[in-house]
């Protein structure tokens, strides 16, 4: 046993780097995922029959070939759904199975149930479906032209952007875009449903949101929620892709299980998963920015148009978060943001780590890079002069507000915890940014083919669900009379180490060893009405709920032992596996037994709701975020100007996890998020053909980073000695999403390398993802034309 596992305390300063609670099972292949669970006799396997068209109306459907295929037991269509034919969590616009209208290629139409997975998949291709093909809207531009939206257009303004831009001495305008991203969780979507007595159903779902799965299954069955039990021990990755979408599989598996009376497993093949399920939203941006000669932004006008796909799903909240992250680290006194939520005939895009935040930041960082090129300044200096709270670096800002006031976000929240300037300074020094910039410039001048680029970019990411009501959590802590503890909480484990952290919280609160605390599957029958494990909030919410449960238990135990010892309950301490007060001591386990004998409840349900936050969605104003998480990254790349191929040579990262609950797990989130973000911005390109068919639907064509893409020099550190100013669980900070956006430094290092071919004076025409082809186009574009930025 690892020595660190035998010590249970979390230090007063920082948490311990305990390994993942499932690490031993995972390396041994004994950690069980939904597809690994023993199958009851007679288990049926399900597969979808899907739309071959992006937009069409079904005229005639003949499933006799499907039914006749050997091994097929049943075929379900929408007519077999007893309740709501919907899995949209916010709006009712996501049919489980299409009725007559088909709105994307890959949309499920029917579900085959067969004796084997392979028979089901083969049979699903035997349908004969006659359709009337309708004109499809496939791009953001087409949707804008045709005013095809899933929700009304919104505008957020602060100050007078138009006037500020008009009066500014310098101006840029431009258009850019960033692509979508497939989650590529290694474990594809799966649900495994078991029919129980009395129309009750139990579903093993690979989901970040068991409660929503429970509700949607119940609605689809037309029954009350108490008839549906949803469990998830762990997911093989989620990244947002298992927030809203697992309900589709779970609802149909549950319907099929109750209809046939047999267990039903619905597991998507990888290609089916990629075609059927939604991805990160691609965005198109227009920007117009006025600024002074230091690069300080005086006024900015942004247009954000997202491709939401055919339905709403979580697109509204994703776009809210994009709007709330257009500012990233920067004070924007005069700003106007217009947001279009485009409806297209493609898969419905959904949550993905960062949830619109990366896209919002993308456009401001892009604009700042263009400003720096136009002024011939180092982009880092332009970033710093625009930082929130920084009123001194600029010299003659027009109409500038006092430094103290440069902390108000466009959505009305005042930033109270900004640490960007000190951590930027620290990384600038530790990465040797300035000297390397000089050296690389000289090196590039002598290297006609290979060009190197460098960028240091900040991240400020708001923590909490924008929608206030999601910011709540529950936990169940059961203490058994032998002193062992079983923990359940509303959060789900997708690899991020949430269960490990919450176990650490419980062990610390009760003063017992980690081994005395066991966490089991997230289960809607144990902790009800939970929120999605999303928005990086897992440990903030569930850690606090578990702490609350522990405090209740401790109060009961302390009261009991205080009576036995005739001491004040406040004097009772829980530490080192012991309970003590003055000279009295007792083993924790002994007290548990005594308390049980004295008929004291040893089970506690904890609860937490995040304080201080509020959000007016109509006005886009409020304090949506309890606090912010910060980070900075400095990345160097080498670009081959003959082919556009690129390598990340070095990355230095300094990331803010407050007082980390578990530094090893947090470093894992930072590194993994950074590489995943680098994939989004470089090699991960989603392609659709002219008919709206996804052509990159497998790892053979869709390229997430491999081990060879890790920078040779990769220095990742957590910010030290800066506890969260808010009263979070032991003053830690959420860490799931923010590091992904550190990868903007990769994209900007590429831009820097490309800019070198025109002596850094012009902004490359480079969108994301920066594939080799995009990079080569940008290089050649700069070599033939001097600039794409209009100088005013």
């Amino acid at each position: 046993m690892n020595a660190s596992l035998s010590t249970s305390t979390i230090g007063g300063g920082a948490g311990e780097s305990l390994r993942h609670e499932s690490a031993i099972l995972q390396v041994g292949g004994t950690a069980r995922y939904a597809d690994d669970m023993p199958e009851p006799a007679g288990t049926l396997h399900a597969a979808f029959g899907v739309s071959a068209h992006a937009h069409a109306r079904i005229k005639r459907i003949d499933l006799s070939g499907v039914r006749a295929y050997p091994g097929v037991v049943d075929v379900l269509t929408y007519a077999d759904i007893p309740g709501d034919n919907n899995y949209g969590g916010i709006k009712h616009d996501d049919p489980l199975l299409a009725e007559t209208l088909l709105e994307y290629q890959g949309q499920p139409i029917f579900l085959v149930l067969a004796e084997t997975h392979h028979a089901a998949r083969r049979a699903a291709r035997r349908a004969s479906i006659e359709v009337e093909v309708l004109p499809a809207i496939l791009s953001i531009e087409d949707a804008l032209d045709q005013q095809s939206f899933i929700a009304p257009t919104r505008t957020l303004t602060q100050g007078d952007a138009a006037a500020a831009i008009r009066q500014a001495p310098h101006r840029i305008t431009g258009r850019t875009r960033c692509g979508g991203q497939d989650h590529f969780y290694l474990e594809g979507q799966i649900a495994f449903a078991f029919p129980e007595e009395e129309g009750h159903v139990r579903v093993l779902s690979s989901t970040q949101h068991p409660t929503e799965v429970q509700h949607i299954v119940a609605h689809a069955l037309g029954c009350a929620s108490h008839r549906v039990q949803v469990e998830c021990r762990r997911m093989g990755g989620g990244f947002g892709g298992k927030e809203s979408q697992p309900a589709l599989l779970a609802a149909l598996a549950a319907i099929a299980a109750l209809k046939t009376g047999r267990a039903v497993k619905l597991r998507l093949d990888r290609d089916d998963d990629m075609v059927i399920t939604g991805k990160r939203h691609p965005f198109l941006f227009d920007y117009e920015v006025g600024f002074d000669y230091t690069g300080r932004i005086l006024g900015a006008n942004f247009m954000l148009a997202s491709n939401c796909g055919y339905s709403s799903d979580l697109s509204g909240p994703v776009n809210d978060r994009a709007i709330c992250h257009v500012d990233n680290a920067y004070f924007l006194e005069h700003i106007s943001i217009r947001n279009f939520q485009c409806k297209t005939h493609t898969v419905s895009n959904t949550a993905f780590r960062g949830f619109g935040g990366p896209q919002g930041m993308f456009v401001i960082e892009h604009a700042i890079d263009c400003i720096a090129r136009q002024l011939g300044l180092d982009a880092l200096d332009v970033r710093r002069v625009n930082y929130y709270g920084n009123g001194s670096a600029g010299t003659t800002p027009i109409g500038a507000v006092a430094q103290a006031d440069r902390n108000r976000t466009p959505y009305g929240q005042t930033i109270e915890d900004n640490i960007l300037l000190p951590i930027t300074r620290e990384l600038e020094a530790s990465s040797d940014y300035r000297a390397r910039r000089v050296a690389l410039k000289a090196q590039n001048a002598a290297s006609p083919i290979i060009k190197r680029g460098l960028a240091l970019t900040p991240v400020k990411f708001g923590i909490s669900f924008n929608a206030t009501h999601f910011n709540q959590a529950g936990a169940l802590v059961n203490l058994y009379s032998d002193g062992s503890v079983l923990l359940n909480h509303g959060g789900t484990e997708m690899g991020q180490g949430l269960h490990t952290k919450v176990v650490q919280v419980v062990a610390r609160e009760l003063g017992i060893a980690i081994e005395q605390v066991r966490v089991t599957a997230t289960d809607t029958s144990k902790v009800p009405n939970t929120s999605a494990t999303a928005a990086s909030s897992g440990s903030d919410l569930n850690g606090m709920a578990a702490k609350d449960a522990c405090r209740q238990l401790k109060a009961r135990l302390a009261a009991h032992v205080a009576r036995l010892w005739s001491v004040n309950p406040d004097a009772v301490q829980f530490a080192g596996g012991m309970v003590s007060a003055g000279s009295h001591t007792m083993q924790f386990a002994e007290l548990a037994h005594k308390a049980w004998f004295a008929r004291i409840s040893l089970s506690a349900q904890g609860f937490y709701s995040t304080p201080k936050i509020h959000w007016d969605r109509a006005k886009l104003q409020g304090r949506p975020f309890y606090y912010f998480a910060y980070g900075v990254a400095c990345t160097q790349v080498a670009v081959d100007t003959l082919t556009g191929e690129m390598r990340i040579e070095r990355a230095d990262i300094l990331h803010d996890a407050g007082t980390s609950l578990n530094p090893a797990l947090d470093i894992g989130q930072v590194e993994g998020g950074f590489i995943q973000g680098a994939g989004w911005l470089t090699s991960e390109e989603l392609c659709w053909d002219a008919k709206g068919r996804l052509t990159t639907h497998a790892p053979s064509t869709y390229k997430i980073p491999t081990a060879a893409d890790v920078p040779a020099i990769f220095k990742v550190k957590l910010v030290e000695s800066r506890p969260n100013v808010e009263d979070t669980i032991y003053r830690s900070k959420a860490v799931g999403e923010p590091p992904l956006m550190l990868a903007l430094s990769v994209y900007h290092a590429i831009r820097d390398a490309v800019a070198s071919v025109a002596d850094y004076r012009a902004a490359p025409q480079l969108d994301a993802p920066a594939t080799p082809e995009a990079i080569l186009n940008a290089v050649e574009g700069l070599r033939t034309a001097s600039t794409n930025v209009s100088l005013t």
């Binding site: 780097s17 995972q26 004994t30 594809g188 093949d269 006609p448 083919i449 064509t701 990769f714």
Partner: protein, 536 residues
């Protein structure tokens, strides 16, 4: 010492641990985690992964993509390695998801379940990953464990670069790989569990020892067990109305190929696996090249190297590298270690994909392919095998027996470049190979061949002509680059547009020029140091 951890080699006549299905044809026999498995009544299309997970309920190996691209299903295959010596067992990682069960007849397979001792002790590979925070969601982890296990056995002190190469076939979406790479270098410092003299680990550890070391009893035991289940006669296996033939001789194979024109010819399964798993196709008859004696040989002849159709890509590139080290760049970017350890050079050639990476290299070298129809053979320049997209100069029943690669010509300059969206394990947008002979300052001859530029692997004849007889300078090269636009009208697809493909192909000729001439671009005099031309 827990008994489970000990190597249990059973003689095949002993009762099989697992015996599934009817016995009306010869069963497939292989050694799984040290124990004999005898499988019958399983459709020959069934993959090893399906068999492990669905029949044996060994669910440690995962399905992440079912096409050999993610590595979650990676297992390690052991087979007698006659080249290394008598009693030696070669170990390599393969993708279980695209490996058809009957091809494992006579092999040993190790899965993640086989590494953990019965008492729960972890193998050093597992320990290093767990200690180093190398797993997050854990779904990819068993595959990484097995790729690292192969590295542990085959590479005594892996460098960072060797670890990266060994993991080229394993995708992780959580960790960002750094902790896994650290574990790859930390694992050798971790002690294996004590008293492992007879353990699985001990006999495999011997793989890492020098060739002079006495063969360890463990490896010898496995070799003996493999020898005991090896067959000398043709093996046929039938189930679900599908017949799998694994003939032992070229003559026998050729007869079957002539008799079953509709049969699938199966080698490493790295493409056929996708026909089954993705296109959902099936065959009535499958002819397996992997057991044919004489197809698994690499022969160094006076003027050429001959590589049999069943030689794996990894072994073939190893041989090629001895003569043409300039091609190592493409070798190491060609698919992944598990794919190269299963897929064959013959399969790559016979499949003839326009984006297969071996053909441009072989064509640039002037290689020939030996085709066999029944007892008759004929030899073609490799480029003449390919007529048009999915059309070859092979008669029905005619098959690719071997490829002949000429030995290195004196004074030849060579390069091969692979261009793709991702550094590793990606299909080429463009694969470029060139062999150039100079006479003084002039080009005597040039052979240039490209993949990804047409419906077939194709020579750039007009480009070659524009170089031949001309002085080797940038002006000539620029003219040849212009000629390349006449050689090719590439397609646009999800990998790249036609315009990009052509520009890259042209620029790669320019890169080759820079790498073979002393003057940097722009014509400035070289100051001794050559210019940097590659990031990968």
């Amino acid at each position: 010492m827990d008994a489970h951890y000990k190597l249990r080699i059973m003689r095949p006549e002993h009762t099989a641990l697992y015996s599934v299905g009817s016995m009306d044809s010869q069963p497939v026999r292989f050694i799984l985690n040290g124990r004999l498995v005898s499988a019958a009544g399983v459709d020959p299309h069934v993959s090893l992964l399906q068999y492990l997970r669905e029949e044996l309920r060994l669910t440690g190996s995962k399905e992440g993509c079912a096409e050999g691209d993610c590595g979650a299903c990676t297992v390690v295959m052991g087979e007698l390695d006659h080249l290394a010596g008598s009693g030696r067992v070669g170990l390599k990682p393969i993708n279980a998801c695209i490996r058809q069960l009957p091809t494992l007849d006579g092999k040993a397979i190790f899965t993640v379940e086989g590494l953990t001792a019965g008492n729960g002790s972890l193998h050093p590979v597992q320990q290093a990953l767990a200690d180093g925070h190398g797993s997050q969601c854990g779904f990819c982890t068993p595959g990484f464990v097995m790729s690292l296990f192969a590295l542990y056995k085959n590479t005594p002190q892996p460098t960072r670069q060797q670890a990266i190469e060994a993991l080229s076939g394993n995708l992780c979406r959580c960790t960002g790989y750094r902790p896994i790479l650290d574990a790859a270098q930390a694992m050798l410092a971790i002690k294996a569990p004590v008293d492992d003299a007879a353990s699985l680990d001990a006999w495999l550890r011997e793989k890492a020892a020098s060739a002079e070391a006495l063969p360890h009893a463990g490896e010898r035991a496995l070799a003996a067990a493999l020898a005991a289940i090896s067959r000398s006669d043709d093996f046929s296996y039938e189930s679900d109305a599908v017949t799998f033939h694994a003939p032992r001789s070229i003559a026998s194979f050729s007869r079957l190929a002539q008799a079953h024109l509709e049969a699938w010819i199966l080698a490493g399964g790295t493409d056929v696996g996708l026909w089954i798993n993705k296109a959902l196709q099936s065959a009535r008859t499958i002819l397996y090249t992997g057991a044919v004696r004489g197809l698994d040989t690499i022969e160094e002849k006076a003027n050429r190297v001959e590589i049999g159709a069943a030689v794996t890509l990894e072994d073939a590139f190893h041989a090629l590298n001895r003569h043409y080290p300039e091609f190592a760049h493409v070798w190491l970017r060609f698919a992944s270690v598990p794919i190269r350890s299963s897929g064959t050079l013959g399969g790559n050639i016979a499949n003839g994909s326009p984006i297969g990476d071996a053909m441009p290299l072989l064509i640039a070298l002037g290689s020939e392919v030996v085709l066999r129809l029944g007892d008759a053979t004929r030899t073609l320049p490799l480029e003449d095998l390919y007529l048009d997209y999915k059309k070859q100069a092979r008669a029905p029943g005619e098959w690719v027996e071997r490829v002949r690669i000429p030995r290195r010509a004196a004074g030849i300059a060579l390069a091969a470049y692979k261009n793709a969206k991702r550094n590793e394990q990606d299909i080429s947008a463009v694969c470029f190979a060139i062999a150039l002979q100079r006479e003084g300052t002039a080009v005597r001859s040039a052979r240039i061949s490209l993949g990804g530029m047409a419906g077939i692997p194709k020579r750039a004849r007009l480009t070659e002509a524009a170089l031949t007889g001309k002085p080797w300078n940038e002006r000539t090269v620029r003219a040849a680059m212009a000629a390349m636009a006449e050689d090719f009208q590439p397609l646009s697809d999800m990998r790249a547009t036609a315009g990009y493909r052509l520009r890259v192909a042209q620029n790669l000729l320019l890169r080759f020029f820079h790498e073979t001439s002393s003057a940097p671009a722009g014509g400035a005099a070289a100051s001794g140091a050559s210019i940097e031309t590659r990031v990968l």
